[in-house]
Symmetry: C2
Subunit: 199 residues, 2 copies
């Protein structure tokens, strides 16, 4: 004897979500069961709405509900600089940092020979298309400081430098507010390597 | 500038779920965005189905899609013993332990003066109704070994003992497969208190 079939089914669906294990899926399913009907329906509707209304910008591949996206459509942004990131969610991280007022380009992943992801699987061709008209002076490579992200940055740097662009890479180092004690040796090494003169 | 409105809305709905923080909600929302439409719809439908089809057993308050529930309807189960638990999800934990073939009763919570939950807020009256016909010989109090769960067990023991029933409480102690080193002092104390003669 087990749980009612609809509940088992919901647990099964929830388990497919990232970071949700067997226990977590069960806790969430029981929460849905207990929650007022309106709240559960709002959640179900919100899931559908995302699939119905969110799409990808035809220029930068960022997620958007209007095409081109708000960043690409904003005339006040600096079209001379393009910040290249791996995933749509990385755009808001850069944007929240506050200092950047240029354009974005989302690769939709990183090069990963191990997972069979090559240059043609990423939005690299679309990036090159954006450079055809000229006007772009700098490409900031803001892929993750991981093996795949670094490989992607190196690949793009080699591809873009010959076009006469300034190609830069975001800094790796100790996070603000963190303690050296908790830094792994690779990060610490990068922080030393990237040291700057002060005063 | 921020995320597309439908995505923001989904993140907001996901944040209401237990154990899902700001980062978790964002990760889940982006997963929904990336996942095939059929998977997202299956999840949305599963949420609705639970609200539409799962209800509470009119006898034991366990969750069920048929009333009375499969446990209460099963003629082979031992009607002389009722195991009392706090929440519907506790039923399957007891059931999975394998040894119990009696009936269940779900209180739908525990006494908690701090949160204003008194005896009338729990399914205690429904439990007493089940005892009217006679035939029940033992009540196992399987509320949680927490302050509220213990208080509920003590309250129920005082209420039920005068009815001439055997009233028992599940054992508290060191979990199987665990190490004494990781036991908190309260659990260790309970384990010592509940020691049994061996050999």
């Amino acid at each position: 004897m087990s749980l009612p079939a609809p509940l088992e089914h919901l647990i099964e669906q929830l388990r497919k979500l990232p970071g949700i294990g067997a226990k977590g899926a069960q806790r969430l399913a029981f929460h849905v069961l207990k929650t007022p009907r309106e709240d559960a329906e709002r959640l179900a509707d919100a899931i559908r709405e995302v699939k119905d209304r969110v799409t990808y910008c035809s220029v930068c591949t960022n997620i958007t509900d209007i095409d081109p996206c708000a960043y690409c459509a904003d005339e006040r942004r600096d079209r001379r600089i393009i910040c290249v990131v791996e995933e749509p969610q990385n755009v808001s991280v850069v944007e929240r940092s506050g200092g950047f007022r240029g354009m974005y380009h989302v690769l939709m992943g990183a090069l990963s020979p191990l997972h069979g992801i090559g240059p043609d699987d990423l939005k690299i061709r679309a990036l090159l298309t954006r450079l055809v008209d000229g006007g772009v002076e700098e490409i900031i490579l803001a892929t993750n400081p991981t093996v795949d992200g670094e490989a992607t940055a190196i690949y793009l740097a080699r591809l873009l430098k010959p076009l006469g662009l300034r190609v830069t890479r975001i800094a790796t180092g100790i996070p603000v507010g963190s303690d050296l004690e908790y830094a792994d040796e690779l990060t610490m090494g990068k922080a030393m390597e990237g040291r700057r003169e002060v005063g």
